[in-house]
Amino acid sequence: MEFVTQHSFLVVSLIKIAIVLFVVMTALAYLTWFERKVVARIQSRWGPYWVGPHGLLQPLADGIKFLFKEDVVPPTADKVAYLLAPFLALALALTTLALIPIGPASIGVLGQQTQLVISHSPVALILLFAISSIGVYGVALAGWSSNSKYPLLGGLRSSAQMISYEVSLTLSVVGVLLLAGSFDFYNIVDHQAGHWYHFFPRWEIIPQFLGFICYLTAAIAETNRVPFDLPEAETELVAGFHTEYSAFKFAMFFMAEYANMITVSCLATLLFLGGWLSFFPSYENPGWRWQLYLPAAGLIIGGIALIIGGLRSVQWNAKAVFPVLGIVCIGVGYLCTLTGPSHPVAEVIQGPFWFIGKVFFLLFFYVWARGTLPRFRYDQLMSFGWKFLLPLSLINLVGTSIFVVFGWHP
């Protein structure tokens, strides 16, 4: 116990890391389920359906399957790099999440006020880009070390793609930095507080719309997602850089891709969509306190939908499980309203509520893009990145700096 009080910062950080890791791992698993369900709906299919009600246990089944599959290592592979690559990819993808704050509040744990972020750095944004920039090694090494044709081609393609689009990604963000004047996420989000004409939130997406478009496009390419998923173009390259990976090493690449998706969505939320700020004027203003009930209302409505959907389902397990889940949701929501709007808990969850909502919307956008757009050809991808996206983000940068120098920025 003495150790805990002496090193309270260390202990609190470890607790936060454990919580974030658990939440993110669960989110990763269910992101795959969510993606398959949404794409299935777009293509008029059912998607995963039979493992658990509406396939809800499918991620678990997949994980267990990956754990128990035979782990084939090609005999000609470069062992060190071959083993290092998936670890590097997943570890770096998860590390970036340590820099993402999810709310403005600070909570007291073990007699210490702690913020809703694992590591608060004044140069958080550059650190984040730095960590994600070494993520390329995972892909490049996987391609090279497999010592096989298709992985090498896939690795070369995807590292070229990631290097190219990283330039546009970084440049598209500089506009926001110029307006906010800080690398610190807290300052960047604070700069977006307030409303124009008491209605339009002052999020950077409005003055930086061009930058937002560039960022979103580059981010999709950076995470190797459709329509820029050239490294995994199965008609040409089998499975790209991870062709020779099986069992859990393959799953690690898979998880890294989804973790990167979450990271870039969080970053887009913080930089362009006002982070944890509410769409409406702050709840501290008179007449806007009802926002504090929004998370509870969401839970109750979701619970009712679960009960109705569950009872109407043809699956017996959905009929049994969903109403129970729905009742739990309603119960938690009701408990939230019981504490009243002035309770600190209601104010603390306000930030994460908006933040996670926005991130969720962006993730949905990702899946939506995957279900809608066809894949680019490789030369189209490269010329699009260098000849269109890069000049566009440069124009945005020059335009924004002119505005800032002459003091026209809002």
Binding site: A81, S121, P122, A130, I134, G143
Partner: protein, 172 residues
Amino acid sequence: MSVAMVVFIVCGALAILGAIGLILAREPVHSALSLVLVMVALAVLYLMLGAAFIAAIQILVYAGAIMVLFVFVIMLLNAGVEVRTNVSRIAFWVGLPLAVLFLAEMVYSLSRHYAASGALASAGAVAGPVPASTEELSMKIFTDFVLPFELTSILILIAILGALVLAKKEAS
């Protein structure tokens, strides 16, 4: 031993191991990876000195951009295992003594410094006045060191133009 000291020793050891690996590895990709390890370990040391911006830029530019291009080129050319020759004469008669001299110099000056300051434990905070924040750093770059800064950017621009010219000749 404080947490900072542990991190310092681990990162220092990693940097030295990476440097040794860089020279001893026979596979070019392993050498490149060892160099990345050195750079990342150095970046952590910068971070401990309070220079977070420099640390991030170190990783972003050196490990994340330059070394990625190195690895990319090695992969593209499919460079094989390097061939060992006996140490060249120049390296043996000039390089080796210079290396020994440099090492001795470094050990001497460092040991004198610690004798003066009296504590190895302060290894994490001996670097004197470091421009810690990004604001201070950018103020320095754009006031005191504006000429070298601009000259460097012109140099890089010339290098880019040179690369473009060379690439274009090959295409036509």
